[in-house]
C-alpha cells in the first residue's frame, strides 16, 4: 500500500497545499485502497491490483482545474509582434522615403511599397485584437 500512497502524493504534488487538498487526497487514497482490496478479493496479486487502481484513476488535470489551479497560461506574443511590425514597417517605409526623395525627387513612387508593407502591421493589429 506504500506504493499507492506514493503515487497519490505524486499525483497531487503540483497542487498548492490547502485544507481542501489534504481532504481530497485523503479521500482519494482511502477509496483507492478499498478498490485495491476489492480487486485482491477477486484474486489479483497486490502488485497487479495497485497498478490497475492507478491506471483506472485517470488524468488528474481535470481535478486540478476544479481545485482552482491555474492552467499554465499560454503566453501570446501578439502585442510584442504588433510592436515589432510597427517599428519594422516604419523603418522600411522611412528607407524607401529617403531613397525616393534623395535620388528621384521628381517621381513619387514610395507610396506603392508603403501600401504593400502596411499589410504587415495591419495583420498583427488584428491578431492582437483577437488575442485580447
Amino acid at each position: 500500500m506504500k506504493k499507492l500512497k506514493n503515487h497519490v502524493d505524486e499525483l497531487f504534488k503540483d497542487i498548492p497545499d490547502s485544507q481542501e487538498k489534504r481532504a481530497i487526497k485523503q479521500e482519494v487514497l482511502e477509496n483507492l485502497e478499498e478498490k485495491v482490496s476489492d480487486l485482491m478479493e477477486f484474486g489479483k496479486e497486490e502488485e497487479d491490483a495497485i497498478n490497475k487502481a492507478i491506471v483506472d484513476f485517470g488524468d488528474i488535470e481535470e481535478l486540478k482545474k476544479e481545485l482552482g489551479m491555474k492552467q499554465p497560461v499560454k503566453k501570446t506574443h501578439s502585442k510584442l509582434n504588433l510592436m515589432y511590425s510597427i517599428w519594422g514597417s516604419v523603418l522600411i517605409i522611412a528607407l524607401f522615403l529617403f531613397i525616393n526623395v534623395y535620388y528621384t525627387p521628381d517621381n513619387i513612387w514610395f507610396v506603392y511599397p508603403t501600401f504593400a508593407i502596411l499589410w504587415w502591421p495591419l495583420t498583427m493589429y488584428f491578431k492582437w485584437q483577437r488575442s485580447k
Partner: protein, 109 residues
Amino acid sequence: MIRSDIIRGHLDSIILRLILEEDRYGYEISKEISSRTDNRFQIKEATLYAVFQRLEKKELIESYLGSVSKGGKRKYYRITSLGKAYLKEMINEWNEIKDIMDLFLEGLQ
C-alpha cells in the same frame, strides 16, 4: 467502451441520481456506475472527484464524514434540495434531447 466525451456532459446527472437514492461515498459510486452499465461505462476516479468538487461548489451536494471504515472515516455525499431541483431540470432537459435526437436517428440503421 462508449465515447466518454458524449457522456461527460451528463456525469453530473448520473452522479446526482446515484446520490439521490442514498448517501454514497466515492468508490461506491464508481462501482455502482460500472455494475449498472455492465462495465460498458467506467468513470475515471480523477473525473469523479472533479465532479464532486464542482457539485459541492455549486451546493448541489454536500459531504460529511461517515462512520469509521477500515482505514479512516469515509466521506459521504448527500444531495441538497438545490441538487434535487437541478436534477429535475436535467431530467426534463434529457427527455427533450432524447426526443430531438430520436427525430433524426431513430429507425436508421
